[in-house]
Amino acid sequence: MGEYLLRAIDIHKYFAGVRALDGVTLEIKPGEIHCLAGENGCGKSTLIKIISGVYQRDSGTIEFDGQAMNRITPIDAIMKGIQVIYQDFSIFPNLTVMENLAINSQLAANKKLVNWKNMRKIAEEAVAKIDFKVDLDAVLGTLSVAEKQMVAICRALMFNARLIIMDEPTTSLTKKEVQALFKIILQLKAQGIAILFVSHKLDEVFEISERFTVFRSGKLIKTGNTADLDDKKFSYYMTGREFDVKTFSPSRTTEEPLLEVKNLTLDNSFENISFSVKGGEILGITGLLDSGRTELALSLFGMEPATGGEIFIHGKPVKITSPQVAIENKIGFVPEDRLSEGLFLPQSIGDNIIISEIDRLTNGILMDKSRCKEEIDRWVKEMAIATPDPGNAASTLSGGNQQRIVLAKWLACNPDVLILNGPTVGVDIGSKHDIHAILQELADKGMAIIIISDDLPEVMENCSRVLILKHGRTAGELSTQDITESMILDRMM
């Protein structure tokens, strides 16, 4: 066996004349954990698809196990032991765990009748390989994201995998689940299987990988040992920009809180939560997935009205029973999931921006087209949304630009209080810094901002105070000026 298990050298790939990969090289040693990083659209996914035979390269060479591979088909890749676990896991949600695991071998054997006993045996062997405890008869759709991922990993292992490629495997996992996944990855490594771990999350790259490769705009920027890497260098390789990280401290705050919450309760989600935010402040709210942080956000915005407690806005008690009431009270809300809650993807960028303030852009009954256009142009410019035409669909933009649209939608409503649930989930590092800068600027102009996030560096960097939730109750309120991440973690867990 040579030094490298996989060598993809000087790979070029064009799509309809657009250069997706410009002579990139990726080398993976046997049994190593290698991290491939880069912002959205940098060519990571394209390279994976070339290695797994989904796309064909335009030029360059690929060697696997010392053998040159000329034309790779998906079947070739699987036969050689290359397995890809995609973000959506490519599993059948309506079948049971057992069926999902055994279906490939059943298909491969070209059997017309199902041998249930045999299937169970195959499935049992598969889960045993990583000590994965699961009910084989459970329907897959009922499992958690993490469990689905485990099923996908088990399935990958059934084919004598030598290299497992994981495409952003931690995107929708909780902290605990990520740790469980990392344990499995280390187990696989111990069995001599190489892992290509695709991610753009700094902390994960540092924690799990031995070597890394960074792409930017289809080019190889840097490859090396993770030990030689630090935060600053990594951000620079990813974006080509240098960032100064400084913790936000409010420049001036209002005397009275703009939003105050006393003993707020939502049955079966959270109880007795109290806090207040002044204008000019950024409050962080953090906690694990089951801490009630998302439900708290939904209650403040009236999507799931609180069942007990009081909310004061400008000192006056209000009952927020629907999003309309929240908007009337000048509360804006950037939801957690951009795709299913934040954006009308196939509709134009412009419509997405003005929809929440649309009732103000009328003269009597008619829509005022020129004022609509003014508003759209203003926000596209102010938020620096990178588009040639605001009439284009929102789906044409990258995650970072899409998040700017959602932000613009709410800023257009001129809120006093802006609540953001996971403001930079799935956003590339460059845009993430830009969004943080925008939020800090808004606070400096007097807005009260609440950031709900489980991204602790984000909370530490942007919030002046942080409220920690655990099992639906307050587990502490700290000032970020004089604490460390681990102090927050202690209270979260």
Partner: protein
């Protein structure tokens, strides 16, 4: 020279691509009119024939406009024909009662029945809207149920037979022409203009489109989704009721099973007009064109005595499937006749 031609070619292609549904309809329409000109010119191209067409299509044209707004929200209205017939029957009974033995009806009654018809449409539509938005019944089931309910009400009111003994004043005034233009068509034009206005000039139209795209995002954007859905189904109810009033005039009678194939025909028209059954997409111009095209097709087919009218249902079913398959290919950019890229 060659370059220039290629440029012009791609320009035409771009115009076509900018609104495929529209252009496809226009092309089909032209082809059909040419075909009719070649085969049955003298029978098809007469003033009377066109006047008849323009008097006939408003009845299902109005219903199609109703189905259109519902489909833009991602829903559907299958109760249109039920609402139309129930409205027609109750208004026929009312006019029978009002005229008494004399068989005379003062013209003011025509205004009264239209206002009442609109009210019936509003109530039935609002019921649909409430079932869909507040009770969360899938639109296809909610409106199938209410459609059956309204048809049944009509049956009970008539004992299944046709109501025809009401004063001819009504049919006479609606089945009339103003300067050669059928009154039915004028009613249709008024409704179509109101619809076009609502869809393109008001915030309601924009909200409708966005709710159809993604109801959940609409809620998170602070739109009153339930309110707008109820409004939409109410609008559809009004369209259906007016369609029923035109049917009443055209047949000069009312019966619970009139126009039973209009349900399918309305859906065909709306889909043909470029409204996506998944919601969030559609223009009234396409639907108007489709309404006229369907009428022209049917009238044209009727000019061929060798094709029995029993074939009409079969043809509409086939066309609906064909259009949806075609939409699938254009929307997913699948090229049917070009070689696969290596």
């Amino acid at each position: 020279m060659e370059n220039k031609q290629a440029g012009a070619g791609s320009k035409i292609k771009n115009i076509y691509k900018s609104d495929r549904h529209m252009w496809r309809l226009i092309i089909i329409m032209i082809l059909w009119f040419v075909f009719m000109a070649v085969t049955k010119f003298s029978k098809f191209y007469t003033v009377v024939n066109f006047q008849t067409m323009f008097a006939q299509f408003p009845e299902f044209g109005l219903m199609s406009l109703g189905v259109m707004v519902c489909m833009i929200t991602g829903g559907i209205d299958l109760s249109t024909v039920g609402v139309a017939n129930m409205t027609g029957i109750s208004m026929a009974l009312l006019m029978q009662w009002a005229s008494g033995e004399s068989q005379e009806l003062s013209p003011i009654w025509i205004l009264i029945v239209f206002v009442l018809a609109i009210l019936i449409g509003m109530v039935t539509g609002a019921i649909n809207g409430i079932l869909v938005s507040k009770v969360h019944i899938p639109p296809i089931l909610a409106t199938l149920g209410t459609g059956q309910l309204f048809t049944g009400l009509g049956l009970v009111m008539t004992n299944g037979s046709a109501i025809s003994g009401f004063p001819s004043t009504y049919a006479f005034s609606i089945n009339n022409r103003v300067a050669g233009i059928p009154v039915q068509f004028l009613i249709f034009v008024v409704v179509a203009i109101v619809m076009a206005f609502l869809l393109s000039k008001t915030t309601y139209g924009k909200k409708l489109m966005l709710i159809g795209t993604n109801e959940n995002v609409a809620k998170f954007s602070g739109l009153k989704v339930d309110h707008i859905l109820i409004k939409t189904y109410t609008l559809s109810g009004i369209c259906s009721a007016l369609g029923g009033m035109i049917m009443l005039a055209n047949y000069n009678s009312a019966r619970s099973d009139y126009g039973s194939n209009y349900t399918l025909q309305c859906i065909l028209i709306v889909v043909l007009g470029g409204v996506s059954p998944n919601g969030g997409k559609g223009k009234i111009s396409g639907v108007l064109l489709a309404i006229f095209l369907v009428r022209a097709l049917e009238t044209g087919i009727n000019r061929f005595p060798q094709i029995s009218s029993y074939y009409i249902s079969l043809i509409w079913g086939a066309v609906l499937i064909f259009v949806m398959v075609l939409n699938y290919f254009t929307e997913n950019n699948v090229k049917l006749f070009s070689k696969k890229k290596a």
